[in-house]
Subunit: 224 residues, 2 copies
């Protein structure tokens, strides 16, 4: 599998630029759970995902987490190279949610190419706009959606990603995705169970009534 | 006042590109309260602010608002031309908070120049990264900060912008900035008043103890 197949504007680079990137390119494999990027403390480089799954999240001072977005095959991870733009002023953590293979372009090399190549700069713009849209979606969720909807949406999303109704997820992990406390997740899951939408067991959640969960999403109950 | 003085990469444009922008440039003046951009329904163009103040916010289905960021003199407003990037998939409203003068570059013209000019594309990237950082800051506020801190921060910010301790703000307006209900604002302001931090009167809030409000920001009380 070649980098050029994954990088959409490859053919718009000069051969010198192509060479420059090819020479600097690193292939890496990390295990599930690896912390790939730790806020502004490192400027790892841009990642182009070959296979696997990454999770971008932020941490509160007290160590609470909330998932900002996720990255899948063919996605470009920009903020692992936050030093390429001085205006990126936030601390994002990036962790492998599954065993993940990716190409890494060193930040300095990407920056040099981006500065002289309009196609690369415009492609980077589109990537950032995509993340921006995801973050705006998240704000809408946090602000206007009640927690039952957010939890239902998360379970359905997980089910779609994993292509199973048997989710191996602890309440703690869900709390870290949604930026809340474990107790809040447990309480709502028990309510879902009492309504026969899910079945709970140790370290796992089975979705037993997908339609009911989906209905929850469209119902317009009061938000906070 | 010339556009070229405000646009940082002007000197990196070809004279053809400079001409193209100059010919298309529109100077506009709007009154306080004017809705300049209404979600994806229009693609007004990029705005470069000469004087005044704009507010970018989102709306819930029920008509609730939350301020995403504000724009001041010399800021470039990108999302009023969201059609320049197909990955911008969110509905932002932009309204004048004060009488505002700005240059408008039609979206199509800007897009054409950006597609061929690496400096313009990279500048646009930096502008988007700046907004992105503001949005990430907002998420942190919403997620980890208790409402007393968010309200204190907002009052101090307003006071800094207006350079006065006499704020002409209704509780409704504050609620729309912070994405909450008027009652919540009123309750907290009354608490602030009982602690002698502010003095409330009809349509106005006087900051009487700035230091106390600032202390609130650094105090690490529990968040929600």
């Amino acid at each position: 599998m070649l980098f050029s197949d994954y990088f959409p504007v490859w053919n718009q680079l000069t051969s010198f630029q192509q060479q420059k990137i090819s020479n600097a390119l690193i292939s890496r494999q990390v295990e599930k759970g690896t912390l790939i990027h730790n806020g502004s403390m490192d400027c790892t480089g841009l990642l182009l995902i070959k296979s696997g799954q990454l999770r971008a999240y932020i941490l509160s001072e007290e160590g609470r987490e909330i998932t900002i977005y996720r990255l899948f095959e063919r996605d470009l991870c920009l903020f692992s190279a936050s030093c390429i733009m001085r205006s990126i002023q936030f601390e994002l953590m990036i962790k492998a949610e599954k065993d993940t293979e990716f190409f890494m372009i060193p930040a300095e090399i990407y920056k040099q190419v981006m500065e002289e190549s309009a196609p690369v700069a415009n492609y980077t713009n589109e990537v950032m706009a995509t993340r921006f849209s995801e973050v705006m979606w998240l704000i809408e969720q946090i602000m206007w959606k009640s927690f039952d909807k957010r939890l239902a949406a998360f379970l359905l999303e997980e089910s779609a990603i994993e292509q199973t109704t048997q989710l191996k997820l602890t309440h703690e992990i869900i709390a870290n995705h949604l930026g809340t406390h474990r107790e809040v997740v447990t309480r709502m899951l028990r309510y879902f169970q009492s309504e026969d939408m899910v079945k709970l067991s140790r370290g796992a959640i089975e979705i037993t009534d997908k339609t009911h969960l989906e209905l929850l999403l469209v119902h317009s109950t009061g938000s906070r």
